[in-house]
Amino acid sequence: MEQDTLRKLELLNQLSLNEVQKANLLAFFADREKELDVLNAMNTDDVERMVHVMPIMTVVREDIASQPFSRDELQKGAPDTNQGYWCVPRVVE
């Protein structure tokens, strides 16, 4: 893991690490990287990936609309709202 990759990961995940955290994280990544050898030693060429542990399929719902939650309730704990909108610092598109 390079410093550069780590910086990109921070940007991607909206986190900013201090130097100690960065050093710890690089060590953590190195450990995980080593562990990958164990997985790589396992032949998975013909193994189907397992996303869901139970072999079931989606049960769809009918297309019926309902609106049981009110905006006021939803925005009760909001840091900043205005006229029914959530607000953030101005976004330049």
């Binding site: 986190l15 396992m42 976004v91």
Partner: protein, 397 residues
């Protein structure tokens, strides 16, 4: 140190504590994170609704580690529960003291099982899809399960009976028909006759844990249950694959906490990126940040096939290995943790212990198999074999 994050009066005779991963409408849910400190949900966890409907009373919320990925709850924003130099677990304290007959919580990375083992309590992590996850704080959705901790097997079983059942609001919740089909294909017997002990999981545990294992083995043998020692490397690799899957899912699930809609917002937020980055950086703890960044890395274009996709395939291998084992054995006995207690400063010396100590909990998490922790050890069984596991565990409870 905080055991309860909230408490509430209940007239019910049978009192249940919910861990703070379970959303409640009348008490805040923080999931141990400064990000959600004081967050009041509009939803109530389906599991808690079922408890209430069955006449139980939810008496309060038990503190958890940040998003329940840590060892015992030590990463909670409300402080490290510890006493006498060892780490404590809030839900286990509550059950042990008798303040609640049981605790219902979300088993994300095994902290519930480790706590049950160290406190000598009983805990069941039922088969994935048995108990609705509606109204739980999502972290590692493909493997996390609503679990129960109680003083004994009878209480644990009583609560699980109330919780289990299909819920339309959870797309991964199993219907009765599906349960029956899987139960049949797994060939579930009502009793455990043969138990495997995998050597990869018994090496390197401390004396007291080894003692628990031996006691369980002895009790099983004395009751005519065959106990065999075997080696199983694939299942031991579950931890590595689980760390990848759990971290990636966690990264994605906690990305919603960005300071915009609710929860913590940094005071220092002049631009949208500052709002995001400062809010998350100030509110999340080190372990969570580690998991987020690691999980993100496993999903990068460069790593996806090498790491994430590989882990999904290894998950299949682990599941198949269990399947093969279950052709010969009815259950697998293994520790839930390597130590009978963790010193309160363990994370200072072993910073990443939540990613290594889950060696024992990852196999059941990654496969969705049921596991009963009792007598300081875990018994993992076939899908829907909870009853058989309870019966066997009674022998060493």
């Amino acid at each position: 140190m905080k055991i309860w994050t909230s408490k509430t009066e209940t007239a019910a005779v049978k009192k249940i504590a919910a861990d703070d991963m379970m959303l409640t409408k009348d008490m805040p849910t923080a999931a141990g994170s400064k990000m959600l400190d004081g967050y009041l949900s509009l939803l109530e966890a389906e599991a808690l609704t079922r408890m209430k409907n069955a006449g139980y009373g939810i008496c309060g919320k038990a503190n958890v580690g940040e998003f329940a990925v840590d060892l015992m709850g030590e990463t909670s924003c409300y402080g490290v529960p510890s006493a006498d130099g060892v780490l404590k677990n809030a839900a286990a304290e509550i059950v042990q003291s008798g303040e609640a007959m049981a605790a219902v919580g979300l088993d994300v990375n095994g902290s519930i099982r480790r706590a049950a083992a160290q406190y000598g309590l009983v805990s069941v992590k039922p088969t994935y899809g048995t108990v609705s996850r509606y109204g739980t704080v999502p972290v590692a959705c493909s493997g996390e399960t609503v679990s129960v901790t109680a003083k004994n097997i009878a209480d644990c079983r009583e609560i699980l009976d109330v919780l289990a059942g299909h819920d339309d609001k959870d797309g991964t919740s199993l219907s009765e028909a599906e349960c029956e089909k899987i139960r049949q294909s797994a060939g579930c017997g009502e009793t455990v006759r043969r138990v495997a002990v995998i050597s990869e999981f018994t090496e390197g545990v401390d004396a007291k844990t080894a003692e628990c294992l031996n006691a369980a083995k002895k009790a099983l043998s004395e009751n005519g249950i065959e106990v065999a020692e075997i080696s199983e490397k694939t299942i031991a690799a579950a931890r590595i694959a689980w760390n990848i899957l759990m971290s990636a899912e966690l990264c994605n699930n906690v990305s919603r906490y960005d300071g915009v809609k609710y929860g913590y917002r940094s005071a220092d937020a002049n631009t949208i990126d500052e709002l995001y980055t400062n809010s998350r950086t100030e509110a999340f703890g080190d372990l969570l940040k580690t998991a987020i960044l690691y999980g993100s890395d496993t999903l990068s274009t460069e790593n996806y096939m090498k790491v994430y996709d590989k882990a999904l395939r290894v998950r299949r291998l682990v599941s198949e290995s269990f399947g093969k084992l279950f052709e010969q054995y009815d259950a697998v006995l293994m520790p839930a943790c390597s130590r009978s207690a963790y010193s309160e400063d363990i994370t200072a010396s072993e910073r990443d212990i939540a990613f290594t100590e889950n060696l024992y909990t990852a196999p059941a998490s990654i496969t969705g198999l049921p596991t009963v922790t009792a007598g300081g050890v875990q018994l993992i069984g076939k899908a829907f074999s909870e009853n058989a596991l309870f019966e066997a565990a009674k022998l060493y409870e």
